[in-house]
């Protein structure tokens, strides 16, 4: 595993009025690893992810991408650099099929005058899309049906696979297993492992300690807007993590 962070945040501060959501938070993710980000409600996880996804801007602090400082003004900035985010509420267009969702906003247009008129390379998008879903092991049963009729696990797999198909560097997954059953959770976690194996840095935000311990390499604990501890997943356990989250234990920082 490459130990140089591909994406790094240092001393991020973000306040909303009198609420100091982040008070000098650090975070880093390396290529080909799963970095979990955990913390109690209000610890600042969502704010940090929004900032790193380009949906919000920090008041202070530095973001470094591939070793160089980076300023993001909107999510498109992040996406252009291969940084994708799957937000908690899916964000699929329900009446479109999986392929249309995968290419939404990134449609491949026909060359020449037909493309100018708005005609798309439907066959090419379909072929590449089916391939992309297959290579991630996301079993999509129906590529022609609207995602509305599919199960929660299927829809989550489609949302994650869509982001993974475009994420060449970093992918943020905000509570990807929150609403899923046991089998479906396993499917999504397998998907996370396969994404990691492609060399992308995966950031997993989750409340589910077993899921975090199962799939992560490192676990970052956020409390009161600061990173209070980083654990190697293989050396820690649920009690230690909960202790760090609630402040019952003294965190130790190693990386």
């Amino acid at each position: 595993m490459n130990s140089t962070p591909i994406y790094e945040a240092r001393g991020i501060v973000r306040s909303f009025g009198s609420v100091r959501a982040l008070q000098g938070a650090d975070f880093d993710v390396r290529p080909g690893e799963v970095s979990a980000l955990i913390g109690d409600n209000g610890a600042g996880k969502s704010t940090l992810v929004r900032i790193l996804a380009g949906a919000d801007t920090p008041d202070e602090g530095e973001i470094r991408f591939e070793g160089a400082p980076l300023t993001l003004t909107n999510p498109t900035d992040a996406r252009d650099r291969g940084i994708e985010t799957v937000f908690q509420d899916l964000a699929l267009a329900n009446h479109l099929n999986p392929i249309q969702n995968m290419y939404l906003g990134r449609e491949v247009m026909r060359p020449g005058i037909l493309g100018r008129l708005g005609f798309m390379e439907r066959a090419k998008m379909r072929a590449h899309g089916v391939e992309a879903f297959a290579s991630l092991g996301a079993t999509v049963r129906d590529f022609d049906g609207a995602v509305l009729g599919m199960s929660g696990g299927q829809r989550q797999a489609i949302a994650v696979a869509r982001a993974a198909a475009w994420a060449s560097k970093v992918i943020f997954l905000d509570e990807p297993t929150a609403a899923l059953g046991v089998v479906q959770t396993k499917g999504v976690l397998d998907l996370v492992r396969r994404i990691k194996d492609t060399g992308v840095g995966v950031v997993l935000i989750s409340h589910s300690m077993p899921a975090v311990l199962e799939v992560s390499d490192r676990i970052h604990v956020l409390r009161h807007g600061r990173r209070v501890a980083v654990y190697q997943a293989k050396d820690t356990n649920v009690e230690e993590l909960v202790g760090a989250m609630t402040g019952a234990l003294d965190g130790r920082e190693d990386s």
Binding site: A91, L92, A93, Q100, L104, G105, E107, G118, M120
Partner: protein
């Protein structure tokens, strides 16, 4: 007993990308647009059986087609708007306004009956419609006023301005070249109005099914927030959709002017409801996300066919309104069932089981 059987491995590999014809047909029949075609065909068969001479006749079918042409042009734009989850109440007034402005401009240009005047009138009508459409779109997308309120406002405003411009008296200025070619012209026996409407409908179908514009229209109606997150400019797409519908209302205004040789100021106060009813009967969901232009055409043909058939049979034509009202409610009811079934992840119940709920297997 050693008869050599075909080894299953010798069969050509399945091509999962291509759906079989049977599957394609089944999907087609399941789609609400196709079910509504069957309903329309049933109506035609009933009227044809009751009146084989007067109803089942080419001239009569062309009459029905002409009566639907102008509504169909409006219906294409309204289908796009309703697919975004919006609504348009203004199209009848925009139609009148475009006809009035075109008529006034052509009148000012003198009593020239030539193509120069006619083309100016066409352009003026299209631009008038486009301008109202852009105004609708801008107020909805940028000022965030709900579509029903915006288009109710422009419905009144466009009609009021038409009356201000004319003093409330219908104008009749339409160059003979336009009336002879567009309003009452025929090409190989088919009225030009019907040809124009068919072309507009065909363009609408291709735009919705094959282009990025159509895809983004559906995507916005389905989940606007998801569109914003993937970088689609939702506001601009909405303005484009309303501008497109306004443009078509301008075209309809011109067709209306050449067909009736009048600006028909008082004649379009209920056009919006007729068009919306057609769109909804055609299977487009008022909740956005799904719909077809083809369904809208059938949804407009059903009331027109009923009206025509009732007149021929000597039934009081007022019954048509009663029947269409029932159709409208039934169409929305089926849409609700379909949406509920889709959300539950079940396959859509068949038309028969929807009509006779006691037969439903899932009870």
């Amino acid at each position: 007993m050693s008869v050599k059987t075909e080894s299953p491995t010798q069969q050509p590999p399945q091509t999962p990308d291509k759906r079989s014809l049977g599957q394609w047909l089944r999907d087609g029949v399941k789609a609400q647009a196709m079910q509504i075609v069957l309903v329309w065909l049933a109506i035609i068969i009933i009227f044809s059986a009751l009146s084989p001479v007067a109803f089942f006749d080419t001239v009569n079918f062309l009459n029905i087609a002409v009566s639907v042409s102008i509504l169909a042009v409006l219906g294409v734009g309204t289908t796009f708007i309703i697919i975004t989850g919006g609504i348009d109440l203004s199209m009848g007034s925009v139609l009148v306004f475009s006809g009035v402005v075109a008529s006034l401009v052509m009148e000012r240009m003198g009593d020239g009956e030539g193509w120069g005047v006619a083309i100016t009138g066409i352009v003026v009508a299209l631009i008038s419609g486009l301008a109202w459409g852009i105004l609708n779109g801008f107020l909805i997308a940028k000022a965030k006023v709900p579509p029903m309120i915006v288009t109710l406002g422009t419905f009144g405003a466009a009609l009021g301005l038409s009356q201000v411009l004319t003093g409330g008296i219908d104008r009749r200025a339409a160059p003979d070249v336009l009336v002879d070619t567009v309003g009452f012209g025929r090409v190989v026996g088919i009225p030009v109005l019907v040809i124009i409407a068919t072309v507009v409908v065909a363009i609408g179908i291709v735009m919705l099914r094959r282009t990025k514009f159509g895809l983004h229209t559906e995507a916005i109606g389905s989940n606007a927030e998801a569109c914003r997150r993937v970088g689609i400019n939702v506001d601009r797409q909405l303005i484009k959709v309303y501008a497109f519908a306004g443009f078509l209302a301008g075209l309809a205004g011109l067709l209306n002017l050449t067909f009736f040789r009048s600006t028909t100021i008082a004649g379009h106060s209920l056009t919006n409801l007729d068009v919306i009813a057609g769109v909804v009967i055609g299977g487009t969901s008022l909740f956005g996300g799904i719909g077809t232009v083809f369904g809208t055409v059938i949804g407009l043909l059903i009331p027109a066919t009923l009206r025509n058939g009732f007149v021929i049979l000597g039934v009081a034509p007022y019954w048509q309104q009663v029947v269409v009202g029932a159709f409208l409610i039934a169409a929305v009811y089926f849409d609700q069932i379909r949406r509920a079934a889709a959300t539950r992840g079940h396959s859509k119940p068949s038309l028969v089981s929807r009509m006779f709920p006691n037969n439903r297997k899932d009870r």
